[in-house]
Symmetry: C2
Subunit: 366 residues, 2 copies
């Protein structure tokens, strides 16, 4: 922070609270209340939070907790926060909000404007600025404990994927498969399932972000399930493809090329190479059938975080980074297959966190 | 909008996209990409979105879809959005972002500042303003179809709650109960489970936002589960209390007072009364043991939305509103019980959406 010329960080999101203090709750689902964490370049770390969070926050790594009865219909803690900033950061420089590529502050539009006014009215006029991706860079390099947590949820999801044949076969509607698969994830140890997407269709699927529909699986379909399940606050993010009955030669060949692309990126991954290098490593296997878009991203306390596997993303890999490798390939008009694995970067190269798929697609009863 | 003097709305959140266009996806879990929906006071509704969303958005209620390949590491659609605003809103007034009490725009800090600069550079200088709660007020009055959707997920959760004795008894760790209960919700028809909180302890629990811990249930505990499950984009939000073995007279009496408080607010609820009136209706039953804080809130496409049952919230109830009634009562030092039901306001009064609890707490095997 000192090197970046900032006086402190103002943090507002679930991932930021968990990262810096260990505070973990699903209560963020309710947008009623703002939560603020002030990390000055020097001095105590102060949580300025709704009273309802005080009991849990007292068990976390903060020096001071200041609360207000929220929601209160009035200033929602902004006077209290301004006071904490005036005491803790006065004269130390501007306050930075994380503004890396995947950072979205959890503050209302008019609340943010009001806070900016209050701070600029302070003696010495404190300004809010972006952190230039400082927090994102810090979070991108995981500790061994963080990598173990991601490996844990990857194992859980791997066991759930292995049980998909129990819940998916020709005739079962895709929305039912989605429900059952989430139950399998929970049964195998996920705390909750923040993300499940997928698709199903002959030789592939048209889009991978729609909710599941009540359309029965049919022989010849490829079913893809892509999950971001959570354990102890950390996400996995990988998918698996399944063939309903025997796969066509076209689908099997496309799947093989995805595995090849993933392996090529894995082999290339080590400290010093760039995200763009991993992107490029996948290209020979995908050829002209490559689907446009990124081919992976950071992963951790968010489903997606940090840099992207894009041709023009020159972020340099460092030991401790956790990434998804996620190539996609066309199999026909508006049809594609996507494969995804999770890896960690070590000094010696990459390490699989998800249980790597090898060989042909698992076959569901057709 | 015209009455409020604004030229259009700029919408950025999942609930806003679903409400105005029907667009429904879990892809929002990834914060990589911003999504913009422009509703001018006159003229076409334009979605300015990442290319990955085009297939799904084409099935929704928008007039135009403009896409960019996202993430792109560059302006992330802001040039495209500025162009759409210049064409669609020029001269019609400022652009409003929702800023009701539970509205948080999904835009990065520096991205928002950059967008504001681009818009103020347009001929005629378009400004971003808050909507003064306009969208929140609109969304608070549900259509019959929306109320039916909420009733549907309430029924699903009601069936799952009725099955809790299958998965919870003395000796089973609370985190395991949380996993199993989420699986029951899915089995009964929830699309996904966005929220589950709760607590367990002798005669009550100390806080209701912590994640579940691996502590076994014990005879004499009261177990509370509070869920925001989702079906077709709509949430329920209610809880149930269970006694592990027979409840103490103190716990049973506290529970009875919560039911009494809930019934009093239900009886008072009709168009024309205020949120503060419902808050006050609960007070006689709770007496001095009332826990501070709001006693309910709006519900719909978010777990919590709109006004709060607070002593000073004078929002007037209207037919179509959907609310939670959520009194809390102390049962000892740092111990409480919370009860919650969901209701809809009709011309004739209130209607239960959750399957109202009556009588004593269900008893789990002790």
């Amino acid at each position: 922070m000192a090197a970046a010329g900032i006086g402190g960080l103002l943090l507002t999101t679930p991932a930021e609270f968990t990262y810096f203090t260990g505070y973990l709750t699903r209560f963020w689902e309710s947008p009623s209340r703002p939560w603020y964490l002030l990390l000055p370049v020097e001095g105590p770390v102060v949580a300025v939070i709704p009273a309802i969070g005080a009991v849990l926050m007292a068990q976390c790594a903060v020096d001071e907790i200041r609360t207000w009865p929220s929601p209160d219909g009035a200033d929602e803690g902004r006077a209290l926060l301004t006071e904490a900033i005036a005491e803790g950061v006065a004269g130390q420089g501007p306050i930075a909000l994380p503004d890396g590529p995947e950072d979205v502050p959890r503050v209302g539009f008019s609340a943010l404007a009001d806070l900016q006014r209050r701070l600029s009215d302070l003696p010495g006029a404190v300004h809010l600025v972006g952190d230039g991706g400082l927090v994102a860079q810090l979070r991108a390099r995981k500790t061994p404990e963080e990598i173990a947590a991601i490996a844990d949820i990857c194992d859980i999801a791997g066991r759930a994927f292995a049980r998909v044949p129990e819940v998916a076969r020709a005739g079962i509607p895709v929305d039912q498969v989605f429900r059952s698969f989430q139950a399998l994830l929970l049964e195998e140890g996920a705390d909750w399932v923040s993300y499940l997407a997928g698709g199903a269709g002959p030789d592939g699927y048209g889009d991978v972000i729609s909710p599941a529909r009540a359309v029965p699986l049919a022989a010849g379909d490829i079913l893809m399930l892509d999950t971001g399940a959570v354990r102890n606050g950390y996400f996995c993010d990988f998918d698996r493809n399944f063939s309903v009955g025997p796969a066509s030669a076209k689908a099997e060949s496309a799947h093989a090329r995805l595995l090849e692309a993933t392996a090529a990126a894995f082999d290339a991954a080590r400290p010093g190479v760039t995200m763009a290098d991993l992107w490029a490593a996948m290209s020979p296997a995908l050829g002209d059938a490559a689907v446009a878009g990124r081919r992976g991203h950071g992963l951790g306390l968010q489903l997606t975080e940090g840099a992207s596997l894009l041709a023009h993303d020159h972020t340099v890999l460092e030991a401790g980074m956790v990434l998804t490798l996620e190539p996609a390939i066309e199999t026909g008009a508006a049809r594609m297959l996507v494969h995804e694995e999770n890896i960690a970067i070590t000094e010696a190269g990459a390490r699989w966190l998800s249980p790597r798929v090898q060989g042909s697609m698992p076959v569901l009863e057709g």
